[in-house]
Symmetry: C2
């Protein structure tokens, strides 16, 4: 379990990470949640603008509101925390950059959760306008801030039994299409 | 150096990764380049659509053409390889998703390069229309495929001497804005 000093090699961790949607319902330590957000803040961003904000959700009533507006968020019922990764249009390098920067941050967070033995999954908000509006309303985001993803985090109820093969040689080309 | 069996812990690797723009000019083994692309293919994607393609560039004349159209790509002169991460509009989950999926893949690739002791940096193509067009033309991409990023890879000429503090508590909020 995650408190017992997990140690995973970087490359192996990238390959073995999976989307985990089944949790025990137990709470994850706050310091671990903070370390996951810290990992997000160490993502690269265009011109190092770091145009991000993180809203940590552990209030069940807010969790419930998100479940009401997001069609694929039922795992939040057993999640310990959700972290909404938001982009700031006043901080980004130019229009549209925050979506990429926040995606890199989200991926770092999924890997950081994996490094702690936790389960996590990326719930898409961007690019769906209706989800962006609904989540913005629930959190009371200012107009220059928009949600990109929700990272659902919990202690895994079960680990996936197998690792799928995702390498596909046909997707690699050389010097031209 | 990268062949001598680097071993880096996952969380530590996320935090210690930096954008590396100075390379020795030496060639990186092809199998390492393939393993970096494999890491990209293990990123999560919306509905697991994996809407990506990877164009590996090692032809100096193609590298030069990219340097002519991308204003921040001078490090390619000493890079071993560049990998253009492209999104496929016919494979993505809905309009706009490939940009997020390819960003997650790009971040995995930067981390994978770091895991091998290599230096890498993300050159932004998306969301700048003029760069998207120019890179598409150079590579001869079909109209349903668009470049998102270029990952420049090489053997580091020097490692950054210090690790910046990027954690910023003020970017974290709780349950609401």
């Amino acid at each position: 379990m995650y408190k017992n000093g997990f140690h995973m090699e970087l490359y192996e961790g990238i390959i073995s990470r999976r989307s985990i949607r089944n949790y025990t319902g137990e709470k994850v330590d706050e310091e671990i949640i903070t370390s996951i957000i810290k990992a997000g803040m160490y993502a690269p961003s265009a011109r190092n603008r770091r145009p991000w904000h993180f809203v940590v959700i552990d209030d069940r009533s807010i969790m419930k509101k998100i479940m009401d507006v997001h069609p694929y968020s039922s795992m939040l019922a057993e999640a310990s925390h959700a972290i909404v990764v938001c982009g700031d249009k006043e901080l980004e390098n130019g229009p549209g950059y925050y979506k990429l920067d926040c995606s890199a941050a989200s991926q770092n967070m999924l890997l950081a959760a994996h490094s702690k033995g936790l389960g996590a999954v990326w719930l898409g908000v961007e690019p769906r306008e209706e989800r962006i509006k609904a989540v913005s309303n629930i959190l009371g985001l200012p107009s220059h801030v928009a949600p990109v993803s929700i990272i659902s985090i919990g202690i895994p109820a079960k680990y996936p039994s197998s690792l799928p093969e995702r390498f596909d040689e046909k997707r690699i080309r050389r010097n031209k299409w």
